[in-house]
């Protein structure tokens, strides 16, 4: 298992009753970690977040949620593709978090 830091937007922190950052356990050694694996681990640790990041029915990222890490926008990367090696290494090392972000979109 690999411990990965995840930063949550304020509404999801409140919902999960946690702080800005959580650490989740993702299967594997870190090499080849996927977006889906990180999000599955997050939802496993915080079931209340199911449906708030990915649509319950389609499993797709909700339109106004973005995923960033290492100053890269991973939002539109295929969820089952391994994350870029430098990103995966930084997440596995704990030097960078995986950011779940509420998109800038009025309201």
């Amino acid at each position: 298992m690999t411990a990965i830091r995840v930063v949550l937007p304020v509404h999801l922190r409140n919902l999960a009753r946690t702080g800005k950052e959580v650490t989740v356990s993702v299967p594997g050694s870190g090499d080849g970690v996927t977006q889906r694996a990180v999000l599955d681990a997050l939802e496993l640790a915080y079931p209340v977040l199911r449906g708030t990041i990915r649509d319950r029915q389609t499993g797709k990222r909700r339109a106004f949620v973005r995923f960033y890490a290492c100053e890269q926008d991973l939002s539109n990367e295929p969820p089952d593709e391994p994350l870029p090696p430098a990103v995966a290494a930084a997440l596995a090392a704990g030097t960078e978090p995986f950011l779940v972000v509420g998109a800038m979109a009025g309201g």
Partner: protein, 374 residues
């Protein structure tokens, strides 16, 4: 000592307003779920401290919150409103009509209305956009679609109103259930939601190709008096309507209203022929005629209406009152409540004769429900 609790859902959270039976001095708590749209929250008639709330944003989707202590604390319960026939990553069968005339697969968007059972605190119904009715029997933890509504033979012809294809009215008279959907119309089930029939005969809507079509009417809200379950009152897109035969036939009761466009309609709890509406100018001008906010009351079951103005702003007022934003308590001298898009919640402790604001500066009010507590 009797208390009154008003549950207000707004664009940016929920608020709980409480008073004694005089309804003069109020305390306000909230926002609960600050920043989220609360389309509706409603308490269980069987256990007033059991309250359900629909919490949504465009960012993070739909949640249902439940309180077991009258709104002091909340816990998120189930938010899986997967439509029957759908599987992971796959939409379910069937379509409705989209704005461009194409057939669009059904897609869950939000819960507009929550209707707790009259007898069981753990049973609650939810009206889901697009046009689905869900039921929970475990306090909102799990939800099952009552598929007979969405799969009605007229379903493929249903088209969203401006707000979406929303089931906004749920009237429980188990085993009878009424549901109203914009812009499909009103439907009735006599078997606990298994099968449904469209009940729109008598409705005339100029905005659709066939004004008296079986389905396609933009019904805004429907209410029934508990003692007269077959009598229904409807505020349609245009027209205030009435049925005395469980929706089989409708006739117009707009009478002398200055405009028969509006959203909410209310029925007095002790006078089954006393009604309340809040006319707004038109479909394109969603504010009161002449900038004067007036509730109109009929004591004759419609057609003859009187304006109620004392305590309401009579100039420079351009707010709207949404379909679920009016409620009436059951005290001997019934209290009438409504919330506005300007953030005011008004109370009349004397059946509409006089009004006063409970609060003036909430976010836009989406829903108002009142409870009388022993």
């Amino acid at each position: 000592m009797t208390a009154v609790r008003v549950l207000a859902g707004t664009r940016k959270g929920a608020f709980v307003l409480t008073s004694d039976e005089k309804r003069e001095k109020w305390s306000v708590t909230g926002p609960h779920f600050g920043g989220w749209e609360i389309y509706h929250l409603k308490g269980s008639p069987a256990d007033p401290d059991r309250i359900y709330a629909s919490q949504n944003t465009g960012w993070f989707g739909q949640l249902i919150q439940r309180s077991d202590d009258g709104g002091l604390s909340w816990q998120p319960v189930g938010n899986d409103f997967t439509y029957a026939g759908a599987s992971a990553g796959q939409q379910g069968p069937g379509t409705h009509l989209w704005y461009d005339g194409t057939a669009k697969p059904w897609e869950f968007k939000r819960i507009w209305h929550l209707e707790p059972s009259r007898t069981d605190p753990d049973t609650v119904y939810a009206g889901a956009e697009d046009a689905a009715l869900f039921k929970s029997t475990d306090g909102g933890v799990t939800w099952t679609e009552l598929t007979g509504l969405r799969t009605h033979p007229t379903g493929p012809s249903w088209q969203p109103g401006a707000g979406g294809l929303c089931p906004h009215t749920i009237i429980l008279q188990e085993p009878r259930i009424y549901v109203a959907i914009s812009a499909a119309g009103t439907l009735r089930s006599d078997d606990d939601g298994e099968t449904w029939r469209v009940i729109n005969r008598g409705l005339l809507s100029e905005g659709i190709p066939d004004p008296d079509a079986e389905a396609g009417h933009c019904v805004h809200h429907v209410e029934a008096h508990p003692a007269r379950p077959d009598t229904l009152f409807m505020q349609k897109h245009w027209d205030v309507m009435r049925s005395d035969d469980a929706g089989e036939n409708w006739y117009e009761i707009s009478g002398n209203l200055p405009s028969d466009f509006g959203f909410p309609i209310g029925v007095h709890p002790h006078e089954a022929e006393t009604l309340y509406v809040v006319p707004i100018t038109s479909d394109s001008l969603h504010y009161p005629p002449d900038g004067a906010l007036k509730v109109w009351r009929s004591r004759t079951g419609g057609n003859e209406w009187e304006p109620l103005t004392e305590g309401l702003p009579q100039h420079d007022c351009y707010v709207n009152v949404y379909r679920d934003a009016m409620s009436i308590d059951t005290l001997d001298e019934a209290g009438v409540y409504f919330g506005t898009t300007g953030g005011q919640v008004y109370v009349s402790p004397d059946s509409g004769d006089t009004w006063a604001p409970i609060v003036r500066d909430l976010p836009a009010v989406l829903s108002v429900e009142v409870q009388v507590l022993p």
